[in-house]
């Protein structure tokens, strides 16, 4: 085809419509990105707007007749207490489970075992709540009685031990089970990425497997473990249903983990009171939700900061 000169072809096609397909598509993509940002801003904004009435209102018009700060502070205490205990219990177990899968279990089983641990994350929180109150709670009563009897001098175990198991200890245990897969997944990821040459170097020196793990794998994974723990913390702070169902709430601020009288958490408080609330009570609850949002935000940002510092080195 001795057709028109290529130059003429090019000239004909140019000078005009920058392809509209490309333009439409890239605009859509940008719009999606902007929507995400708007959504996030919207969450903060709407919550703020709906909280304002509670912030500016008279204390005696708020639920409980206290000021907003006095209303929210015990909830913050309960939230942080439950989440912290959950993390303290979960992290060592998660790290051990991750080590087991990455370094100790037979290779053929690794996929199946990892899948089982991840299955813990798939269970809906309401199911954990039901399991906690009907199964774990009653089963823990004996342990709690023993704790009160033998370790009752520690403020955590002052007692009197609850007979139903609806205590902060049990709630924290359930939270720990819920966040374990998160921490374990992060730990597993980083353990399996420990450079072979580091590990082989340790083994070549005659180290036992545990010594090799202690010398190379754990230090290598240290900041990832920390950030995984913080991610788990963030999750535990925001968890609602398990705590709502399990905890028997009396609103008292206490470190006593095994008694009937417990502080509530922000999330559980909202879940319990919101359906029947109206007016200013709703605004108060939303204000507490905003506080929860802020707390989890800070925690998650901290976790990401640690991870990105690790990536930089």
């Amino acid at each position: 085809m001795a057709g028109p000169l290529a130059g003429q072809i090019l000239a004909a096609a140019s000078g005009g419509r920058r392809r509209w397909g490309d333009r439409v598509f890239s605009n859509l993509a940008v719009a999606a990105g902007v929507t995400i940002l708007a959504l996030l801003a919207g969450v903060a904004l709407f919550l703020l707007v709906e909280s304002l009435p509670a912030v500016s209102a008279d204390p005696d018009r708020l639920p409980g007749g206290k000021s907003l700060v006095d209303y929210i502070a015990p909830l913050v205490f309960g939230t942080v207490l439950a989440a912290t205990i959950a993390v303290v219990i979960a992290v060592p177990l998660a790290v051990a489970a991750a080590l087991f899968i990455s370094h100790i279990a037979p290779r053929r089983l690794v996929l199946a075992l990892g899948y089982m641990v991840d299955l813990l994350a798939a269970v809906p929180s309401i199911v954990y709540g039901l399991w906690g109150i009907f199964v774990l709670g009653p089963a823990a009563v004996g342990v709690m009685e023993w704790l009160e009897a033998d370790l009752g001098f520690i403020p955590f175990f002052e007692g009197p031990a609850s007979a139903t198991g609806r205590t902060m200890l049990v709630a924290s245990l359930v939270l720990a089970v819920m966040i374990l897969p998160i921490v374990s997944a992060v730990a597993r990821e980083v353990f399996s990425q420990t450079p072979r040459k580091l590990q082989e170097g340790a083994l070549a020196l005659g180290a036992t497997r545990w010594e090799m793990i202690r010398m190379t794998v754990l230090p290598f994974g240290k900041s990832s473990i920390i950030s995984g723990a913080m991610l788990g913390l963030g999750r535990a702070l925001g968890e609602t249903m398990a705590v709502t169902i399990i905890l028997s709430v009396s609103g008292v601020v206490t470190f006593n983990l095994i008694s009937q009288a417990n502080p509530s958490t922000i999330a559980a408080n909202i879940a319990l009171d919101f359906p029947e609330s109206s007016g200013l009570a709703v605004n108060t609850l939303i204000a507490s939700g905003l506080v929860l949002f802020a707390i989890t935000l800070v925690t998650n940002l901290g976790a990401r900061a640690i991870i990105s510092r690790q990536n930089i080195q």
Binding site: M1, L5, A6, G7, Q8, I9, L10, A11, S14, G16
Partner: protein
């Protein structure tokens, strides 16, 4: 030495006479008049003082060269001297890398392809490319792979015409007999050499003016390599072909014109040192660096 028509020989003599040793040490090849009667669709690609950058890094410096129609122009030189970067600027693929910049002029048949208002997508339809590692589309059948250019750039082609084009391209690529019974199977079931021929069929199905090939045989075994080189020799009668190759023997076997790129030291931009007929470059090059490279003293 590829079988050369008389016209080509005449040019080779012209090229043999005196390369200029100055800042732009490249030869203007006396190109064939455009629209040559026996070579449908072949056109001339020319660059003038072309400089290519990645951000601040000056990758290729002051290249002035003409890629002539109905010839195979081989771009040779050691790794890292900018041959592939240069090749990718010829079909405006260079600019896809973030921060990449082009200075200077590239013309296709006299038309500056980087002029304002020129659509790079249109340029790429006229200047096709075959890559180093065969990359057939994994979700498409053999038929759809060859027809991909037609389907994806919105040309409205009737099914019967498409069938014709697919068969013609596969025949030209010497792949038809091997795949004619499995046109609807996936391209990934073919051998490396077959996949590369599939990619060539795909590239020529849209009838580009120029075909660029970036080390097309480096991922293939020697048998497949020779098959592709034969194919290239045949294709030059229809297309203008430029091929980047690491393999000097391949350049000697398959090309008519050879351009030697070199780099003075790491960090400096690559330059076009010498260009001439393949025979001249390999037997009596004018530059010392060229002589050193083709005789294997470095690279």
């Amino acid at each position: 030495m590829p079988g050369a028509a008389d016209a080509t020989r005449a040019e080779a003599d012209v090229e043999a006479g005196g390369p200029r040793r100055d800042a732009t040490p490249a030869l203007q090849v006396a190109g064939e008049p455009a629209g040559s009667a026996d070579a449908p669709g072949a056109r001339t690609l020319a660059t003038r003082e072309l400089n290519l950058y990645y951000g601040d890094f000056h990758a290729v410096q002051d290249v002035t060269i003409t890629i002539a129609p109905n010839k195979v122009t081989a771009l040779i030189g050691a790794s890292g001297c900018g041959k592939t970067t240069f090749l990718r600027s010829l079909n405006r693929m260079h600019e896809l890398t973030a921060g990449a910049r082009v200075e200077g002029e590239i013309t296709l048949d006299g038309q500056d392809i980087y002029a304002k208002g020129i659509d790079p997508v249109q340029v790429r339809r006229l200047v096709g490319m075959v890559f180093q590692a065969p990359n057939p589309f994994p979700t498409m059948s053999v038929y759809d792979n060859v027809a991909a250019g037609l389907n994806l750039n919105g040309s409205r082609v009737k099914k019967s015409e498409k069938d014709e084009i697919v068969e013609r391209s596969l025949r030209r690529a010497h792949l038809w007999n091997e795949v004619k019974d499995r046109l609807d199977k996936h391209g990934s079931g073919l051998s490396g050499g077959q996949q590369q021929r599939l990619c060539i069929a795909r590239a020529i199905a849209v009838e580009p003016e120029v075909l660029l090939m970036d080390e097309p045989c480096s991922a293939l075994d020697p048998v497949a390599t020779l098959a592709i080189e034969d194919l290239i020799r045949e294709l030059k009668s229809r297309f203008t072909i430029a091929i980047v190759t690491h393999n000097m023997q391949q350049a000697a076997r398959a090309s008519d014109v050879t351009a030697f790129f070199n780099i003075e030291e790491t960090g400096k931009p690559g330059r076009l040192v010498e260009v001439g007929s393949t025979e001249t470059i390999f037997t009596s090059p004018s530059e010392q660096a060229t002589e050193d490279y083709v005789s294997g003293r470095f690279g």
